[in-house]
């Protein structure tokens, strides 16, 4: 049967023509994406330079403020004091970072598994979902500052209460983001699948889950940031190690530079997590990136 005319101007239908057609498409694709790549790289390099410039400006202003004597160095250390603390205390900071990082990663992973499982379980049954949604919201409504010490009383000083707290703060964004994404499946697609005699399970696996992945990643990115905050609060409530514990100890000793150094490390850790998740998202969801030029464009 005669094939469709492709605006690329390539041959129609015949196998050799098909090969010519696809080669032309690939060539055009490479040209377009090469163009896009250099423009995009230029843009992202420019924005990185801008971010760097803002950071330098901010640090400069901070340094000036402290050096001109406006505030006691013990109360607000200058950036170079923080940098020195980062260098001098690096063994201490690093070992405590590992503890906190472990709490964050393990707690967030548990929350991700539980959250994902709950979302899949709740999605098909509307009544169950409407019944449990208020409970889900309740997990967030109670402030961590209140429940954390209570959990420490119950579970002790070990890693258990920290995992529970980190898990609690991470659970909500993942469940809600995934559940919402699952619910936003195109209803026309659901109708189509019904006429294809697809079972509930197969619809979930082939259509709903892949389309919910972007939502899951959004939830995961939020959860990662919340998890770091949660870990710090958990350590403040009862811990013998970790960066949160370090800050708690350093502040009354007026080792403020060390405390700030710990804060810097925590921030960098959160940024790194976010960045890793963004990278993972780009690898796992190649279709959500801007499409390269196709035959039509």
């Amino acid at each position: 049967m005669s094939g469709g005319h492709d605006p690329n101007g390539a041959a129609r239908g015949a196998a050799a023509g098909g090969r010519r057609e696809s080669a032309g498409r690939r060539r055009g694709h490479t040209r377009a994406s090469a163009r896009g790549l250099s423009a995009g790289r230029l843009r992202s390099a420019g924005s990185m330079l801008l971010a760097l410039a803002i950071l330098v400006l901010f640090l400069g202003a901070w340094e000036l403020y402290v050096d001109l004597g406006a505030v006691d160095r013990l109360i607000l250390p200058a950036p170079h004091d923080v940098a020195r603390a980062l260098a001098e205390d690096r063994g201490l900071l690093w070992s405590n970072l590992r503890v906190t990082a472990g709490e964050v990663l393990l707690g967030a992973l548990l929350a991700a598994v539980a959250g994902f499982a709950c979302a899949i379980a709740l999605h098909p049954w509307v009544t169950l979902r409407h019944a449990t949604y208020p409970l889900l919201i309740a997990t967030q409504a109670v402030p961590i500052l209140v429940i954390a010490p209570l959990l420490v009383v119950w579970l002790g000083f070990g890693i258990a209460p920290k995992l529970v707290i980190v898990g609690l703060v991470s659970f909500f964004p993942i469940v809600v983001a995934t559940l919402d994404a699952l619910g936003r499946t195109d209803p026309d697609l659901t109708k189509l699948l019904a006429t294809l005699d697809a079972s509930r399970l197969r619809t979930l696996r082939h259509v709903e889950l892949p389309s919910a992945l972007p939502g899951l990643f959004t939830g995961a990115k939020l959860a990662a940031v919340f998890a770091v905050i949660g870990a710090v609060f958990a350590e403040w409530s009862g811990s013998s190690s970790g960066l949160g514990h370090l800050i708690q100890q350093a502040t009354p000793q007026l080792l403020t530079a060390r405390a700030y150094a710990a804060v810097v490390l925590l921030s960098l850790f959160a940024i790194a997590l976010f960045g890793l998740l963004t990278l993972a998202e780009r690898l796992a969801l190649p279709w959500t990136r801007n499409p390269p030029g196709g035959p039509d464009r």
Partner: protein
Amino acid sequence: MVRTREAPVMEPRPISEPIGVRVSQVERTFGDRRGADVVALRGMDLVAAPGEIVCVVGPSGCGKSTLLELVCGLQRPDAGSVEADPAVLMPQRDLLLPWARALDNAALALRVRGASRAAARAAAAPWFERFGLAGFERSRPAQLSGGMRQRIAFLRTLLAGKPVLALDEPFAALDALTRQEMQGWLAHALEAEPRTVVLVTHDVEEAIVLGDRVVVMSARPGRAVADLAVELPRPRRRTDPKVIALRERALVALGVER
């Protein structure tokens, strides 16, 4: 999100006695958001013999999509009866899965019935050349033109293996040039793979060029106001005086012209 999906109208009919599509005095009402009732169809009749292509034309909102969903068993009529062989729906938008490659999209019907990925791909692959899509098996929908996407959507519809195809304005999303081309292409495709087809369109010429019969629907509440037999040899040309004459009759029945 509350999903309303009703059970299929009836058990699958053994295909040893195909009946095509028989819609008889069907009525279907919806409640709209403000609680008022919207009567989509009332007294609608439609008959398609096995292997026949029936094109349904009507103004917007006349219940054409509802009719197709009734034929596919996605809804039950409030009154009247719908008897049809198993039908598969080809919705207005191609609804190709953006994360899947063309071959996997085409083979979706097989995958959701439990075929392995390899078996599904093997079944779909030979069709790509026949449909002029050779070389694009591994492309994602975003890289394909509108015409190509519709062809893959049609292939997906065919590979569902059902005797009745319910096509909902399949070319509405395409530009005028591609649409004309795709109409010719579909006519060829259906000649090679005959099915019972109920094709809904707002384009009267398309209906006459493609259909064995053209059913004209009234505005809401929709019912059939004319049933024109198109007994012309294929391939049909828009400029053929007989086609033009039929078009006039259809437009008169639609109330667009006197």
